[in-house]
């Protein structure tokens, strides 16, 4: 017991308390500081442009202020100041959604010309039915674009001159009809309620400008489309309040959660102006059913706010559930229509995002009047309008197109989801959209946003697959990813699968060394092979993988891209051998679950590791190192327990109530728990030390019980004391 007695000296007197907590804290700070300083390569951030470089350092080093620019007015930024919104927009975007899109755009995957490029699963664009559009254009572009229908002569008059900013009436009619067709005739749209803009992005922004003043808020069930944070917030000054949905009910909208969020926002003194939903949901892909529609409409009526329904994927449904537009519900029931606005566009359902056609469909005359004036800032080019009028007026073509597109979406979705399933990844049940919402939470470590971003980073930089992490969509559960499958062809799916598989692995493997970049960059054959083996060991029963009868695994073996991908070529030749060593790998994995010490040895053995890599890993600080403030919190929790124990002990001694000393004893497990946490973090959350996490939890439970017991003893003692007196 006397172990803590020396500490008593520190806490004697009033200043002792302050000093006692400050000094150890400061010492630990400096120790950390010293350690950091002496890790040469980590102090200089890695070059962001390097292809194999990680994106996490970029994330970590976002400039939070422009204070440097302010200090030196003639600095590199120059003296000309921008507005605060301009500055905010110009600032480097750290959102993984955009980081990933950029990487993809810089080095896009192409089966024949650039097989090592990034697989673009981040952008929801539909390439499945482009051939149909192309065929139509080949046949019809001449007639549709330049020749005047009546005279059969060239006429530029109607193209070149100023046109109505909110779209020509002909195109409005054609689009309204197309929307009706997309909804399979369940509802008809009135062209005079249509305002056309250059894409759905300006459509949703324009609508936001009409409905809310700066500082007002929209409630948005989350996960939601990551682009909204830019599209809506940037210029309108409107706040988006995520209303979390849960995986337990497939992320469906809960009116109760909306109610709760509404009240919270109100308490903060903000005005809620609208509820913004997407149907089919982006990123989940689920549909809003009639009941939920009614619930939403009741809710917005009760609160006297608007409802914006983004139905841009309405025609891209593939499931058995029927899509129900909010317009359909409005037609059937007696709700106030003037508060309902629909966003639509031709980018997804007609797969011509380049043509920039977005639709605001509103039942509110005032909104329509304002929006059609605002459309002057984002009008559609006249030749494009002309082209689309002819295309959309070709009813037969459109009917065929929609049917074929749905069928292809359905097949691709099935293929893709099935592929993920083979890898042990489940998707949320979905009926629409160009993406699926995949649950990879079993791959992430730690189970938090940080772990999710590490996995995303690995997928991007190692597997070269760009997917959208749930955190970008404000999903409150970590580990969900949006994967768009319509940018691939069927032949690409195995590629994706292979890339993905390769990674599944690297994550767990690299986590032993705290996701060290050097390690991740090391795509040596052995590493890939071991990784594959480990991932199988973790996620598949050995029997199924050794039989390897599934088309998915077999498609992996004969390097589907002719051995051109480093990922698959690295994995495939060695894979068969590794199969043989599977039991070994599985055993290794099992042992790893057992004891920390053994796991350390196992991983050292499992990894191909050249001594230099190990040495590097030890020297350099990985990205998942705790920040100094987080360290401070952890360390002070240890110190606080020590101080509390000392104070209670002293009290017991001075007051003579010996039972109080029992309380100090009761605290010992808690102190142990805090030490466990510190130790685990000190080794960069090494997977091999995960036993410490379990130990810490156990000690906390035990500590709570011992404290309880000690408190009970004090209570008893005081009872007896009062009796005896």
């Amino acid at each position: 017991m006397r172990v803590i007695v020396p500490l008593q000296a520190v806490v004697q007197g009033r200043g002792g308390l302050v000093l006692g907590s400050l000094i150890p804290c400061a010492l630990f700070y400096f120790l950390q500081f010293y350690l950091r300083r002496n890790r040469p390569s980590s102090s200089s951030p890695p070059p962001p442009s390097s292809a194999s470089g990680s994106n996490l350092p970029e994330l970590a080093s976002i400039p939070r202020s422009l204070s440097r620019g302010l200090l030196s007015p003639r600095g590199s930024f120059g003296p000309a100041r921008l507005s605060s919104r301009g500055t905010a927009v110009a600032r480097d975007d750290d959102n993984p959604y955009y980081v990933g899109l950029k990487r993809c755009a810089d080095d896009p995957y192409n089966r024949s010309t650039n097989p090592r490029g990034f697989l673009p699963l981040g952008l929801a664009e539909n390439r499945l039915s482009l051939d149909l559009i192309q065929d139509w254009l080949v046949k019809n572009w001449k007639e549709s674009l330049l020749l005047d229908d009546e005279e059969g002569e060239l006429s530029i008059q109607g193209l070149a001159t100023y046109q109505p900013h909110d779209g020509s009436m002909d195109l409005k009619k054609a689009v309204a009809e197309f929307m009706g067709q997309v909804m399979q005739g369940s509802v008809s749209f009135n062209p005079s309620h249509v305002v056309l803009t250059a894409g759905a992005t300006p459509a949703v922004e324009t609508l936001s400008f009409c409905l809310a003043d700066p500082g007002d808020a929209f409630l948005v069930p989350s996960p939601y489309y990551p682009g909204w944070d830019r599209d809506i917030k940037w210029r309108t000054g409107v706040e988006l309040i995520p209303v979390p949905c849960r995986s337990t009910d497939n992320f469906s909208i809960s009116i109760g959660a909306l109610e709760l969020a509404y009240n919270q926002v109100k308490k903060r003194g903000m005005k809620v102006r609208a509820v913004l939903v997407s149907n089919p949901s982006n990123p989940v892909g689920s549909l809003i059913d009639r009941e939920t529609h009614c619930g939403l409409l009741d809710f917005v009526m009760e609160k006297n706010i608007h409802l914006i329904s983004d139905e841009i994927f309405a025609g891209s449904t593939y499931g058995s559930d029927k899509f129900v537009s909010v317009a359909e519900v409005l037609d059937a029931e007696s709700f106030d229509k003037s508060r309902v606005h629909i966003i639509y566009g031709l980018s997804k359902d007609l797969s011509v995002p380049g043509f920039r056609v977005g639709v605001i469909y509103s039942y509110n005359e005032n909104v329509l009047a304002a929006a059609s004036k605002l459309a002057r800032f984002s009008s559609i080019s006249a030749p494009t309008q002309r082209l689309l009028i002819s295309m959309l007026s070709d009813r037969k073509f459109i009917t065929d197109y929609l049917a074929v597109n749905r069928a292809r979406l359905h097949d691709m979705h099935a293929l893709f989801v099935d592929g993920l399933k083979q890898l042990g990844i489940k998707c949320a049940s979905s009926s629409g959209g160009l993406y699926c919402w995949a649950d990879m939470s079993m791959f992430i470590r730690p189970y938090s946003e940080k772990g999710e971003l590490m996995l995303w980073d690995n997928l991007l930089n190692v597997a070269k697959v760009n997917v959208t992490p749930g955190s970008s969509c404000h999903c409150i559960e970590p580990g969900w990813f949006r994967c768009c499958f319509t940018t691939l062809t069927e032949k690409d799916v195995p590629t994706f699968d292979a890339a993905f598989n390769l990674h599944g692995l690297l994550v767990r493997q690299s986590s032993c060394y705290g996701a060290h970049p050097k390690l991740r960059a090391n795509r040596s054959q052995t590493a890939a092979a071991m990784a594959t083996a480990m991932s199988i060991a973790y996620h598949k029963p050995p029997s199924s993988s050794s039989s390897s009868s599934s088309p998915w695994s077999s498609s992996l073996i004969p390097a589907p891209r002719g051995g051109s991908s480093s990922a698959s070529s690295a994995a495939s030749p060695t894979r068969r051998e590794e199969r043989r060593s599977l039991p070994t790998a599985a055993a290794v994995a099992l042992v790893a679950g057992g004891t920390a010490a053994l796991a350390m040895a196992a991983s050292a053995q499992a990894l191909p590791v050249d001594a230099p890599v190990l040495a590097l890993a030890a020297l350099q600080e990985p990205e998942n190192a705790l920040s100094l403030p987080t360290w401070a919190v952890h360390v002070s929790s240890v110190i606080e327990w020590v101080i509390a124990m000392a104070l209670v002990w002293q009290y017991g001694e001075k007051s003579g109530f010996q039972t109080w000393k029992g309380l100090t004893w009761g605290m010992v497990p808690l102190l142990g728990g805090a030490l466990c946490a510190c130790t685990w973090h000190f080794f960069y959350n090494a997977e091999s030390l995960e036993i410490l996490v379990a130990l810490q939890s156990a000690l906390t439970v035990l500590g709570n019980m011992t404290m309880c017991f000690a408190a009970f003893r004090i209570y008893k003692a005081s009872q007896e004391g009062s009796k005896s007196s």
Partner: protein, 440 residues
């Protein structure tokens, strides 16, 4: 239902305010035209539209080009590029098109200035370009200085959604409405007095509605002024190719180059194909900024106002035809000058003076002698007579914030020669009537 809705679901200030300014005479004249448009055959007594700065004098050249190059209007080289094109939604804009835009802008300035395609941000029209720059350069409550008279649409385009204010820089007829340092200084002091932060100066060069190009000397002064005040300069040069003689136009780009790009990060140029190429329906505008951060921010924000990929492709091949663009620019300049001379001559015959102009699709006409009283009200009364009696839709100077009463903008490029002759006859009759009345 709608009425009820109005009182019940609240809308934003943007939707309910009048900042769009479409109640002003500038727009009222348009309404008069829309209700009763002139047509030589079917409605010879209708209102002639002279309030629309649209260039139709060279349509035949465009039509001829498209006739000879049918593939340009489609997908460029056959259909091969279709996939990329239909999907193309990158806010950087088509590389080929930006390259051609840069070359075209150089061509207009006859090689006196260089443009880097990487600094070009495409927008759906110059309206959006101007608004975008305002969003980036100024915060709500800040202001831009704009020399008067200025394009009436600025009141809406620059203020409506951005919340930015406009402080006019008053120019007077005594020096042909040229911008002076004194006027700039006065406006700046006025803004300071109102405790409004000045963020920039917007200069339309050549000026709309004056139809004059800013001289190199004035440009130098303006650039010094913005540097001294540490504010931005937006140079709206959408009429640069509509200067009758190319050597009469000095672009701010030339001055920036001559100064070795010193302090150039405060200079931004707005351009568009609506006026010079006569293609407003194509909605192609561009921002050219010397400031990297502005380029970045503008590029990202341009996702709200992208140009259709089909149109980009079409124009890229059109602008790439050097022979066509050269002939076009030359012929267009000549034709505009001819039109301009014709109308000023005709107005002179009617006893009306115009500000000597050298650019644009309009002239700046002085009807002050016909005013009953030299005030804004007097001007609007006269304007109302012109719209409803002479049946000409022209834009009153007061809608352009002109500080002197009696000036009007008359557009001459959006109609045929015959219609222009009818319009001139109407003006002549009208002024003679007015003068007769005044003499009585």
């Amino acid at each position: 239902m709608v009425k009820g809705a109005e009182s019940c679901v609240p809308l934003s200030e943007v939707a309910t305010s009048n900042t769009h300014g479409e109640d002003s005479p500038y727009f009222a004249g348009w309404k008069a035209y829309d209700e009763d448009p002139y047509d030589a055959a079917s409605n010879p007594a209708g209102v002639i539209q002279m309030g629309l700065a649209e260039n139709q004098v060279s349509f035949d050249l465009l039509e001829k080009y498209l006739d000879q190059h049918p593939e340009a209007s489609g997908w460029g080289c056959g259909i091969s590029g279709f996939r990329e094109n239909a999907l193309f939604q990158d806010y950087h804009g088509l590389q080929a098109f930006r390259q051609e835009m840069a070359t075209f802008m150089e061509q207009i300035r006859e090689g006196r200035a260089k443009f880097d395609p990487e600094r070009i941000v495409l927008t759906a029209g110059a309206t959006a370009a101007n608004e975008l720059l305002t969003f980036i350069l100024a915060d709500p409550g800040d202001c831009l200085l704009i020399p008067t008279p200025y394009y009436p649409g600025f009141d809406r385009d620059l203020r409506w959604r951005t919340g930015v204010r406009i402080i006019p820089v008053h120019c007077s007829s005594s020096n042909g409405f040229q911008v002076t340092l004194q006027a700039l200084e006065d406006a700046y002091v006025k803004a300071e007095g109102m405790k409004i932060r000045v963020r920039g100066l917007l200069l339309t060069n050549p000026s709309n509605p004056l139809g004059t190009a800013t001289t190199g000397h004035v440009l130098e002064e303006v650039l010094d002024f913005v540097t001294q005040k540490d504010i931005h300069l937006i140079s709206d040069e959408i009429y640069s190719g509509s200067v009758f003689s190319s050597d009469e136009f000095v672009s701010v780009a030339e001055i920036v180059e001559a100064r070795g790009y010193k302090d150039c990060d405060r200079v931004h140029i707005v351009y568009s194909l609506s006026k010079d190429l006569g293609l407003p329906g194509f909605r192609v505008g561009a921002i050219y900024s010397y400031n990297d951060r502005v380029v970045t921010a503008a590029r990202r924000m341009s996702s709200f106002t992208l140009v259709s990929s089909q149109t980009q492709r079409m124009l890229a091949s059109m602008l790439a035809d050097r022979e066509f663009t050269e002939t076009y620019l030359k012929t267009n300049r000549e034709r505009l000058k001819k039109r301009h001379d014709f109308i000023t001559e005709g107005l002179k015959n009617a006893g009306i003076e115009c500000l000597p102009g050298n650019a644009g699709l309009f002239c700046w006409m002085n009807l002050a002698p016909l005013l009953e009283e030299p005030t804004k009200e007097g001007e609007l009364r006269l304007w109302s007579l012109i719209v409803h009696e002479a049946k000409l839709n022209i834009s009153p100077g007061s809608s352009c914030h002109c500080s002197e009463a009696g000036w009007f903008r008359v557009c001459f490029a959006n109609m045929s020669q015959q219609t222009l002759e009818v319009a001139l006859r109407r003006i002549k009759d009208f002024t003679e009537n007015m003068k007769a009345k005044q003499e009585k």
